[in-house]
Amino acid sequence: MADQKSSRSLTPEEQKRRRTRSLALALTLGVLVVLFYVVTIAKLGPGVLQRPM
């Protein structure tokens, strides 16, 4: 059953939609990375480099 599902080829329209969905997901992940970095710097401020040795 699984083989039959995967053997169905996508139409050009479906391929295009899948591509835009993948790009949107990649963009979201990229934004999250930037967001976490910026928030870390904003919350820690100058103390970002001060770590207990």
Binding site: M1, Q4, R8, E14, R17, R21, A24, V39, A42, K43
Partner: protein, 318 residues
């Protein structure tokens, strides 16, 4: 017989294959978040932030606001997942992504749950866990209490369910101050009291839609006249409540004028809705109240935003 069963099997395989493939575009997934409701969430949450004295970093405030917006969108998405059957029946909602066949219910569920969990965790990490807990409660209240329970069982559905839509200013204030104060509770009360006249005005116009879908909205259950009385009663409570920020000192001179004029406008229209009960004029005035109620709430919150966010605050007393 064998040809027939083969044909059935092929159809079954085809439907499974089609069901496994997402047909949705990025815009369809965005539509699942109810962008217009999300805008209202961002807007009221932003006002909840600016009226609260705090020294939180602007980036932290921005990300908190973003997570409140995503949480609001996630609850809209889960609402669409749960209500897909009735959305397909109503003209207003039939073109939503799930009833339109663009997005599979399972996709919407996964999307909504991911965004819900993600937004709550990130808000907790970025601001504090009180705000995150309040956001989680808002999502739970909208999806489980309103969508799954109240909406299809009681005519008071949007009165109690309206609490979910009124919570964003409280979540936002908690995010930037770490506590909940009277300011945001008053903003909550204004939205809460505004919801019944706003939705029931729409329900008077669209009662046929709700009737077909089997949703017990006030006009279908208690009748249009009882609904008109309830609209008037809630508006009589709403108009003075809209002026409460002035009495509490966080609504300035501009807010006092806007809330006074807007409150009278709401009362005048609610009175018209109560009086006009037949034919086209009755529908027209209900439509006008629905439209004006959006403008009224927008103006109240926009005035607070301008007064506090852009330094235009002029106290009424002292």
């Amino acid at each position: 017989m064998s040809t027939m069963s083969n044909s059935l099997a092929e159809t079954h395989v085809e439907s499974l294959a089609t069901a496994g493939l997402s047909q949705g575009d990025v815009s369809d997934f965005f539509a699942l978040l109810k962008p217009r409701v999300m805008f209202l969430v961002v807007f009221t949450a932003l006002v909840g932030m600016v009226v609260s004295p705090s020294n939180v970093h602007p980036i932290v405030a921005f990300v908190s606001l973003l997570m409140i917006a995503v949480g609001g969108g996630a609850s809209g998405c889960l609402n669409m997942w749960w209500d897909a059957d009735i959305d397909a029946i109503m003209t207003r909602t039939a073109k939503r992504p799930i009833p339109a066949g663009k997005i599979q219910p399972g996709e919407a569920l996964a999307f909504g749950v991911t965004l819900s969990v993600g937004s709550v965790i990130i808000l907790g990490l970025v601001s504090n866990w009180l705000a995150a807990g309040l956001l989680a409660f808002t999502i739970f209240f909208y999806v489980v209490v309103y969508s799954m329970w109240l909406k299809r069982t009681t005519q008071q559905n949007i009165v109690i369910g309206g609490a979910a839509g009124a919570l964003p200013p409280i979540v936002a204030q908690a995010a930037v101050t770490g506590h909940v104060a009277l300011d945001s509770i008053v903003l909550f009360a204004i939205i809460f009291m505004w919801t019944p006249p706003h939705f029931w005005a729409l329900a008077l116009v669209k009662s046929g839609d709700y009737q077909r879908a089997g949703i017990p909205m006030m006009p279908n259950v208690a009748g249009p006249d009882a609904t008109r009385f309830q609209i008037l009663a809630y508006t009589i409570l709403l108009a003075p409540l809209g002026m409460a920020p002035v009495a509490l000192g966080f609504g300035g001179l501009a807010y006092a004028i806007i809330s006074l004029v807007g409150g009278f406008g709401m009362l005048a229209l609610a009175l018209q809705v109560y009086r006009l009960r037949q034919g086209e004029p009755a529908m027209r005035v209900a439509q006008q109240l629905f439209g004006f109620s959006i403008l009224y709430l927008f103006l109240l919150f926009a005035t607070l935003l301008v007064e506090h966010g852009f330094g235009f605050f002029r106290p009424v007393f002292g």
